[in-house]
């Protein structure tokens, strides 16, 4: 997964270095520009058991700012925003690795440095008793939940 390029970013930006799941490091640029979650839509993506994206729908492409070709084959952490605490993703992986559903409010990073908030549900896809992949379904979160999580995540950084 490549680092951010200044020419991809829209507006004034800050820089951060992310330590990602699996020992990956990434330099990202991020701005204060929010893309509102579109009413009525679901963002759906699937990863393999290592968190590598294998499928994404049109809303996933539109909201992330990446092309489908850029997303497929990338770790799902391509969307990791520096404001998200690592503990949230540890909880996600700990939960789904037990075969359970995980749900949380997540701030995602767009390719252009902007962000969007989602209510995410991650479920293990179980076939013949075995986890073969994970599906993440994102929907529009409430303002209240976003405000709560903004404060919570800042305290966990």
């Amino acid at each position: 997964m490549r680092d951010f390029k200044p020419e991809d970013v829209v507006g004034d930006y800050k820089e951060a270095v992310l330590d990602l799941y699996g020992g990956l490091r990434r330099v990202v640029f991020y701005t204060d520009l929010e893309t509102p979650y579109p009413d009525g839509k679901l963002i759906v993506s699937t990863t393999d058991t290592n968190g590598i994206i294998t499928h994404g729908n049109k809303a996933f492409v539109e909201m992330s700012g990446y092309t489908l070709d850029e997303l497929i084959g990338s770790p799902h952490s391509i969307l990791r925003h520096p404001d998200m605490p690592a503990v949230a993703f540890k909880d996600l992986w700990d939960t789904v690795n037990k075969g359970l559903h995980w749900q949380g409010i997540v701030k995602n990073l767009r390719k252009d440095g902007g962000y969007y908030w989602v209510k995410a549900t991650v479920i293990p896809n179980i076939r013949q008793g075995k986890v073969v992949s994970y599906t993440s379904v994102r929907r529009k979160p409430s303002h209240t939940k976003v405000e709560e999580c903004t404060a919570l995540y800042a305290s966990l950084k």
């Binding site: 009413d39 009525g40 679901l42 759906v44 729908n57």
Partner: protein
């Protein structure tokens, strides 16, 4: 042996005769005795499924997980270009223009159509509304959901988008849509139970070929469909996973 066929109780009343015509077509094509039983409620249909009294079903997506995982059903086909979508509407003179402006205790008119209820509650989440902090006004049909809004007995109504679109122009002129789902991948499907599973591939081929001849097209037209498309097992599993994710 006579096999038992049923249709999800949320079928459009306009298509009731269409399902009987379809059943006659199915019997002629397969040479099997197939009895069509239309249940009035999801509860009655659920009881028949639990008692292994259903062999073929045009199933609501909400029931797909139970049918596949508990009852050994396999998907056959889905209607081409038809997806289940929900919408939230208010009376045209309502002061509410955004779901986020709704308050706790909101009165929600809805039917017992399970996938539409689920999608409708999802559409209301941005207003911090859930089944625990709202009042549900139960209705037996979508026209009654509209009536509850028009009479001021409910603040918002949850509709199957197709049912809302089919309301008369006069009624729709007195309502306003707040939000409409654009999910695209939740759909009803024709599914076959274990007793008929040995004819699955043959049934799929017959159904997919329906649109290729005049008689088949007439039967489809009576159902409001253009054609059937095959649903494979993984397609169905994916939809079940999606429904699981939305149910929490």
């Amino acid at each position: 042996m006579t096999y038992q066929f049923t249709v999800s109780p949320d079928f459009s009343p306009d298509h009731l005769s269409g399902w009987y015509i379809f059943n006659t077509w199915l019997q002629k094509q397969t040479g099997e005795g197939i009895h069509l039983e239309m249940y009035n409620s999801f509860q009655d249909q659920g009881a028949a499924i639990q008692n292994d009294g259903v062999d073929l079903i045009y199933a609501n997506p909400f029931d797909a997980a139970m049918l596949v995982r508990d009852k050994g059903f396999c998907p056959l086909t889905k209607p081409v270009g038809v997806a289940d979508e929900a919408l939230i509407a208010v009376s045209a003179d309502s002061a509410i223009y955004d779901v986020a402006d709704l308050s706790l205790g909101t009165k929600i008119a809805m039917t017992d159509d399970p996938d539409v209820r689920m999608m409708g509650m999802m559409l209301l989440e941005p207003g911090d509304l859930s089944a625990n902090n709202t009042q549900i006004v139960h209705c037996n049909a979508y026209i009654l959901v509209a009536k509850q809004l028009l009479q001021g007995h409910a603040d918002v109504g949850v509709f199957l988008a197709e049912a809302y679109d089919d309301l008369s122009g006069m009624i729709k002129s007195k309502l306003r849509v707040l939000v409409r789902s654009e999910i695209s991948v939740i759909h009803h499907a024709l599914m076959v139970g274990p007793k008929l599973a040995h004819r699955k591939e043959e049934l799929q081929a017959l159904l997919v070929a329906m649109a290729a001849d005049d008689k088949g097209r007439d039967v489809l037209k009576n159902l409001g469909f253009q054609a059937w498309a095959t649903v494979d097992h993984e397609d169905m599993e994916f939809m079940i996973d999606l429904m699981d994710a939305l149910a929490v």
